[in-house]
Amino acid sequence: MSEKKAATRDGFGRELAAMGHEFPDIVVLNADLSETTRTGYFEKEFPERHFNCGIAEANMMSIAAGLASAGYVPFASSFAMFAAGRAYEQVRNSIGYPHLNVKIGASHAGISVGEDGASHQCCEDIALMRTIPGMTIICPADEPEARAATRAAYHHDGPVYLRVSRFATPIISDWSNKEFEIGKGVTLREGNDVAIIATGIMVPEAVEAAKLLEAEGVNARVINMHTVKPLDAEIVTRAAKECGYIVTVEEHSVIGGLGEAVSSCVAENCPVPVKRIGVNDEFGYSGPAAELLKLFGLSAENIAKVSKELIGK
């Protein structure tokens, strides 16, 4: 495992600040969390284009819609719980329904929020955003991918939900010479015994899991599904056909997220056994992020274990 670690929220924040120089139509909105969501980097350089809306996420999302209607490209940021949860209806009605060009930078997603505990550990946001027609959902695997995804989100025409984390996680990707394509899964490792499809910070864990499996004679395909919506049905169907078994991994509930998106796709196109790894329909609790991820089975060891069980080894 690469020793270099960084938080995807840092990639998001730094790229946003960099893009602020290139694109005068970017504006950034915050709900009293500019330091911790890293939109503060943009705020420092472009204070006249940054709006702190205070602890009022519903207002913030609709304000973003108004700014988008006037030709700006707003990035509205908060914790995932409040961006997707509290302001769900504003995202759905003010942004989603008129398909306005607002990018939602949702930080502190999942269990890895850590010590703050259940009220802040949002494991439902992908599910909520998936139900909004026209919403694009991207969960970058690491800091460089967060940068690429933030830039791609800017260029995408329509609302985007960008899910980033508080916790520093391993860097495994390099987007300096490749084009980040929204909606295209990336095969990180070939293999035909089982396909592990992961998103967000679970992708490095999936890569590690494949190494553990290799040592035991299991050849796993690893797919980075950074875009959960629209799902890359082609790569999923091919994985089902060629591997015969699929394991999904996400730092999110097993309900409504990547796992069920993949399950639906597989069931309709090429039914094979699927096992979803995620938070098993339970609330989180306080603790250090690294420890919690292991306790909730969101680790390379558990991914390898579940994969072996699925294929009957």
Binding site: I63, A65, A70, S94, P98
Partner: protein
């Protein structure tokens, strides 16, 4: 305002009211009560106040109007049609499948609609966003939002108010249609929002209270609002729900249903007679 100008506006308001009845009758649904109470305001806005271009609905420097009380779509559509954004014939297809006139305003469907609304409390926030855009873009346009007196029970409205004042949005005017009725009865009985004027003043707004059916008072209020610097303005309009159709006035029951054929005839006859009186027989 001279009497000729007032007669002009009163005649237009009459036609807007006929458009509301036409729309909700053909739709067999919709919200006539809260549309009628706002008809004089919409007349004033679209025929005196707003700098808009019907042949260029997306003109970037236009004044913006957000119907935050989105269920009053019939009056917005009637005003847009009368102003020339689309043919009045479209009003007959309100809420029908495939219509450009959706049950609640849809900016992607209808030229002249600046924001999709319907879920109460959100429109006024989007209007704050538009006003912010005007400020950072150093534009001269003004932004107007119309809220209902039931709508202001939504907490988001007060988030919007707080932010409008915080951002010194003197290009922003919120109008409240205080017709005193909501679906379940009088607003003071359901969830009392009073004192509205003191609340808005406390939130930092230059606040005025007017008769929402009096063009002189509306003119005076908007003129005063346009001179305010450094803070947003609020205009609380005392109105009558269902105003202009005798059997709909001050009646909570006419919040959300369309008139039947007999009611349509009665309403249209009343309005046509009024229009004839105003114009002295001429159209």
């Amino acid at each position: 305002m001279n009497s000729a100008e007032k007669r002009r506006l009163e005649a237009i308001a009459c036609r807007l009211r006929m458009g509301i009845i036409e729309g909700t009758y053909n739709a067999k649904s919709g919200h006539p009560g809260g549309s009628l109470s706002s008809a004089d305001l919409l007349t004033y806005l679209y025929f005196k106040e707003l700098d808009v271009r019907p042949d260029e609905p997306d003109w970037p420097d236009r004044d913006r109007f957000v119907l935050s009380k989105g269920h009053a779509a019939p009056v917005l559509y009637a005003a847009l049609a009368e102003r020339g954004f689309f043919p009045a014939e479209e009003l007959k297809h309100l809420r029908h499948v495939g219509s450009m006139l959706q049950g609640h305003p849809s900016m992607k469907s209808t030229p002249g609609v600046d924001m999709s609304t319907g879920s109460l409390g959100q429109g006024v926030s989007t209007a704050v966003g538009m006003a912010l855009a005007g400020k950072i873009g150093r534009k001269d346009y003004r932004v107007y939002a119309l809220c209902g007196d039931g709508e202001i029970q939504e907490g988001q409205v007060w988030e919007a108010m707080m932010s409008a004042a915080h951002f010194d949005l003197d290009n922003f005017v919120v109008i409240i249609d205080f017709n005193r009725l909501q679906i379940d009865g009088r607003v003071t009985d359901v969830m009392n929002p009073e004192p509205l004027d003191k609340k808005l003043e406390a939130f930092g707004f230059f606040t005025q209270v007017v008769d929402g059916h009096d063009f002189d008072e509306l003119e005076s209020a908007f003129d005063k609002a346009s001179l305010v610097k450094g803070r947003p303005s609020a205009i609380i309009m005392n109105t009558v729900k269902g105003r202009g159709v005798s059997f709909m006035e001050d009646n909570a029951g006419w919040h959300g249903k369309g008139p039947n054929a007999e009611e349509y005839e009665r309403a249209m006859n009343e309005l046509k007679a009024r229009l004839a009186r105003i114009t002295g027989g001429a159209k």
